[in-house]
């Protein structure tokens, strides 16, 4: 596959005191792929994607996105370039309506507010609840709203941090359909603990362990990798 590289990280490092949360990670994302990031708790997955989207400043190393160096770019400008991040711990605007939550994403890129907001809500099945206060939604619906906000940005790269955590099985199926629909226009980087979701969706998987890349490859290759089995898959 002669894919175009959308994002490339070289020697990415972030230490917190003595803790090497992310330690010299090389990483590439091909345009249009679904790439899963897995690893044991504390492996540095969230820190790593936080470096990519700019929530945490990079200590050393570099990030290129769509041909440009974004290593020092503030997070809000990376969003404008097309990197969207959905939070691991749901961070919807709890006191605003569902409509306003998504409208905030739509209006930022100058979309047609009412129409596109409703369209984004319909896509995730929340159209009926547009007027509801987001904080009163069920947990599952809040997760879905969080994803809708990411989608409404129409990003080039959507980073999903444990999106299926706390979702019911039926909701997980809907989620998987949703992700399949948005590629290849949007590239998806997925942190996920649910192995069924990973194996089902991902075209490539990167395994992090102690802040370093343990392996990268297709789901089959990762499943067969003895180092990965030892560290993570409970082999």
């Amino acid at each position: 596959m002669a894919a175009v590289t959308l994002l490339e990280a070289r020697g990415l490092t972030r230490h917190f005191g003595g803790l090497k949360a992310v330690d010299g990670v090389d990483f590439t994302l091909a345009e249009g792929e679904i790439h899963a990031l897995i690893g044991p708790n504390g492996a540095g997955k969230t820190t790593f994607v936080s470096l990519l989207c700019g929530r945490i400043p990079v200590q050393s190393g570099s990030i290129r996105f769509d041909g440009a160096d974004i290593t020092r770019m503030p997070a809000h400008r990376r969003v404008r370039r097309g990197i969207a991040y959905t939070f691991q711990i749901t961070q919807v605007f709890a006191n605003l309506t569902v409509f306003d939550n998504v409208a905030l994403a739509v209006q930022r890129r100058g979309g047609h507010l009412a129409e596109e907001t409703q369209a984004a809500l319909s896509r995730v099945g929340l159209a009926e609840r547009a007027g509801q206060i987001a904080g009163t939604l069920s947990y599952g619906h809040q997760r879905v709203l969080e994803i809708a906000m990411g989608l409404a940005l129409q990003p080039r790269l959507l980073i999903l941090d444990e999106p299926t955590q706390g979702l019911a099985n039926a909701e997980i199926e809907t989620f998987k359909d949703l992700v399949r629909q948005i590629v290849p226009e949007t590239t998806v980087l997925l942190i996920e603990h649910n192995m069924d979701v990973v194996m089902d969706l991902a075209q490539r998987i990167t395994v992090l362990n102690f802040g370093e890349v343990l392996a990268t490859g297709t789901p089959e290759a990762i499943r067969a990798n003895p180092a990965v089995q030892a560290a993570y898959l409970g082999g």
Binding site: C53, R55, P74, A75, H76, R77, V79, R80, A84, Y85, F87, Q91, V92, F93, A94, N95, L96, D100, A103, L104, A105, Q107, R108, R109, L113, M149, L153
Partner: protein, 314 residues
């Protein structure tokens, strides 16, 4: 009626009532209401920063004072007319908020409160000590001849009332439009969750600075109007007390509501007015009122109304 039409109808009706008040109110209340409308304009500006954007400033007296002295000193030293003086006051408030914001907005929360408080205190002392320019403690009395706008004598009851009303009405309409606009939605988003807003592509620093400058323009305009309508520009009006007062008015009326600052300023004004006729401990009455508010309606009067019944209230 659509939600938008209902909202505009309510606020325009409130303005119509106030306009009618100019004809119906007796002279004593005419002066009071003029003062309340000017102070409510100041409080509306405070509410844009605090109630909508979540910036708890303790230094707004500096912006109010910039408006007061921007207008007052121009009249005093350059013999300016009321119109240019008012515009100078407006701009002085906005510029001061911009300068303070550039530095203070590098901090958040309690640090922001302290930094703004210190800037305001420095401003207050500057006014107090530069007697050649500000006449220090005594303050500047703006002569009656200078208080004429478009041919109206602003020291007379009726023109003063309607000048205050025009300022308040402009401020209210602008604010209602602002908070219901996409920019207003971003301000509220920053108040609710700054990190999430950033990850939607909004620059928190720039947006908060813009909100603070708008807030400063309101404070500046109100300060200038206060000086020109009531003829006095004094350091006490730029003291810490005048940073706390708009906060109290906004909390009383309802933070993050468009009409709340007016309701709060009006109630507080008359609470002090009536209680001081009965007792010298009028501030105690105010204190009790605030305690009751915190206990039974922590979101303020209109905030509580909105929570319970009027969910559509902006």
């Amino acid at each position: 009626m659509s939600a938008g039409a209902r909202i505009w109808a309510l606020h325009l009706a409130a303005l119509a009532l106030l306009a009618a008040g100019g004809v119906l109110l007796p002279a004593y209340h005419l002066t009071n209401f003029a003062k309340v409308m000017v102070l409510a304009t100041y409080a509306m500006g405070y509410n844009i920063a605090f109630g909508y954007t979540g910036l708890l400033s303790l230094g707004h007296a500096l912006f109010f004072g910039a408006g007061l002295y921007g207008a007052g000193m121009l009249v005093q030293h350059a013999g300016a007319a009321a119109g240019p003086a008012a515009i100078a006051g407006l701009l002085a408030g906005g510029a001061m908020a911009g300068v303070v914001g550039l530095l203070a907005l590098r901090t958040q929360g309690v640090a922001f409160m302290i930094v703004t408080l210190m800037f305001a205190q420095a401003g207050y002392l500057t006014i107090l000590y530069n007697t050649a320019w500000t006449r220090g403690d005594e303050g500047i009395v703006i002569a009656r001849e200078a208080r004429v706008l478009l041919g109206f004598d602003l020291s007379a009851d009726l023109p003063r009332y309607f000048a205050a009303f025009a300022l308040f009405a402009a401020g209210l309409v602008l604010k209602l439009w602002l908070v219901r606009s996409p920019s207003g939605r971003v301000m509220i988003a920053l108040r609710e969750n700054e990190e999430r807003s950033r990850m939607l592509g909004y620059d928190p620093y720039a947006r908060k600075l813009a909100a603070l400058v708008i807030s400063g323009l309101y404070a500046g305009a109100a300060g200038a109007a206060y000086g020109l309508l009531f003829g006095y520009v004094g350091a006490s009006l730029a003291s810490t007390q005048y940073s706390i007062l708009p906060l109290l008015w906004v909390l009383l009326g309802g933070a993050g509501t468009v009409l709340g600052p007016f309701v709060g300023a009006l109630l507080m004004f008359y609470l002090i007015d009536y209680s001081s006729a009965v007792t010298t401990a009028s501030l105690l009455v105010v204190g009790v009122a605030l305690v009751l508010l915190v206990l039974f309606a922590p979101k303020g009067i209109l905030g509580t109304l909105r929570e319970r019944w009027l969910k559509w209230l902006p």
